[in-house]
Amino acid sequence: MTTSIETSFIDNDALMLRAVGIGKTFTLHGQGGVQIEALAGVSLDVERGECVVLVGPSGAGKSTFLRCLYGNYLASTGAIAIRDDAQAAKYLPITGAEPRDVLRLRRGVVGYVSQFLRVIPRVSTLDLVAEPLVSRGVEEDEARARASALLARLNVPERLWHLAPATFSGGEQQRVNIARGLIAEHPVLLLDEPTASLDAENRDIVASLIVEARERGAAIVGIFHDEDTRAKVATRRLELRPPVRHTAALH
């Protein structure tokens, strides 16, 4: 595995994401400065049409790794680069990038589906799901139409579309979350346990959506807690082990 990024994105047109030697150590100042090492030396390349499933025991840092890739967590060591055609070298180094550039990438390139739905209160489900399209310049009506189609596909009943999701069940909220994350068809997708609170039928639907994205050429990194889904979507697996020197589990 090479440790430099430099011309990789120019040389390899299919390369969408490269992470090299990622480590993450949390320092909890409020608790006497205790340090928790969540990741150590993880590297990964992802190309178009690949779906890399992260596997490993609880506490291995899978979720932490995803959040470092998204820029939500600040990686302590290593470098993360995502394809960005606006740059001369065709990639943006997430670590140390201008917030404005990371946000631009999040709008157009990198999608993220977290475990939890965190949204603005009192906004309707339909508007929530349509929003990623609207913020990319899609006409409101068309955005709403596409959102409706996706919500229908995910078995979210139509009577819920004009309500805010705060009162929905866990499974319903998660499906809204997934719709919001997948609707813009980002070239890079980061999925953190998207099927955790779903029943078998809905898990299948989500798996199909992911496979479709993959076959569209998206580069996907995901964590799935059930083997069925993993088998369906994965083209590759990456095993993470908890770093040797850590004092407490942090997932």
Partner: protein
């Protein structure tokens, strides 16, 4: 003590190559700002750049200097040392609406710019904040939230390069506050000024801001992407601040 004070205020910061970061022109630029109250240094050696279209939240407890910084940017209090390059007329929304009670709503919105904005422009701005048709109404007939909306309209009516918000929602009830958040989000997306909001409310920062700066004791102790600073705080003070709030 080397106190070089340079305060240059143009209509907007001139668009030249040193006034841009990447593709985006600067709305305001601060270098080495110092503000003192008597002998007490409230802000020391502060640097700040905000681009047009960028939404920056300044987070901190009372007394950390965030309002002092905003007032310096607004031109209300001069810097004691350092350089500020800011538009001559930044738009400011204060915590109180500060509407003239003896002027109608449209007169309030167009205040100071009657020639360029006029009644029509003011009416349009009022419609944008959801108060269409009430141009000739009086401030005394408005609720707190409505009055603050008029203040917003007044701030945005001439498409400013820099918008300064000083805890603009603090005096409103929770429900009105939520509506105002969404209104601000829409208006800023449409007009694209550089925005600095001073707040102690983490929810507002998370919802509206691209970038977050955490202030303590007159210093910026941490700055970065909003959700990164809130979800993965590095500085001890930020960690305390974030953990003291119930997760959203």
């Amino acid at each position: 003590m080397n106190a070089s004070v340079a305060l240059s205020r143009d209509a907007d910061i001139p668009a030249s190559s040193e006034n841009r970061i990447g593709d985006f022109p600067l709305a305001v630029s601060v270098r080495g700002l110092q503000r003192r109250y008597g002998a007490r240094v409230v802000i020391d050696a502060l640097d700040l750049d905000i681009q047009k279209g960028e939404f920056v939240a300044l987070l901190g407890e009372s007394g950390c200097g965030k309002t002092t910084l905003l007032r310096a940017l607004a031109g209300l209090d001069g810097p004691d040392a350092g350089q500020i390059r800011a538009p001559e007329r930044p738009s400011v929304v204060f915590q109180e609406h500060r509407l003239l009670p003896w002027a109608t709503l449209w007169e309030n919105v167009a205040l100071g710019h009657e020639a360029t904005v006029g009644r029509a422009g003011a009416a349009h701005a009022l419609a944008e904040v959801g108060l269409s048709g009430r141009e000739d109404d009086w401030p005394r007939n408005l609720s707190g939230g409505q009055a603050q909306r008029v203040a917003l309209a007044r701030a945005l009516v001439r498409d400013p390069a820099l918008l300064l918000l000083d805890e603009p929602f603090a005096a409103l009830d929770a429900l009105t506050r939520i509506k105002m958040h969404r209104l601000v989000k829409e208006l800023v997306a449409r007009h694209q000024p550089g925005v600095l909001i001073v707040t102690h409310d983490i929810g507002v920062a998370r919802l509206l801001a691209h970038r977050l700066m955490v202030m303590q004791g007159g210093e910026v102790v941490e700055a970065g992407l909003t959700d990164q600073v809130l979800d993965d705080p590095q500085h001890p003070y930020t960690q305390t601040l974030v953990s003291s709030v119930l997760p959203v």
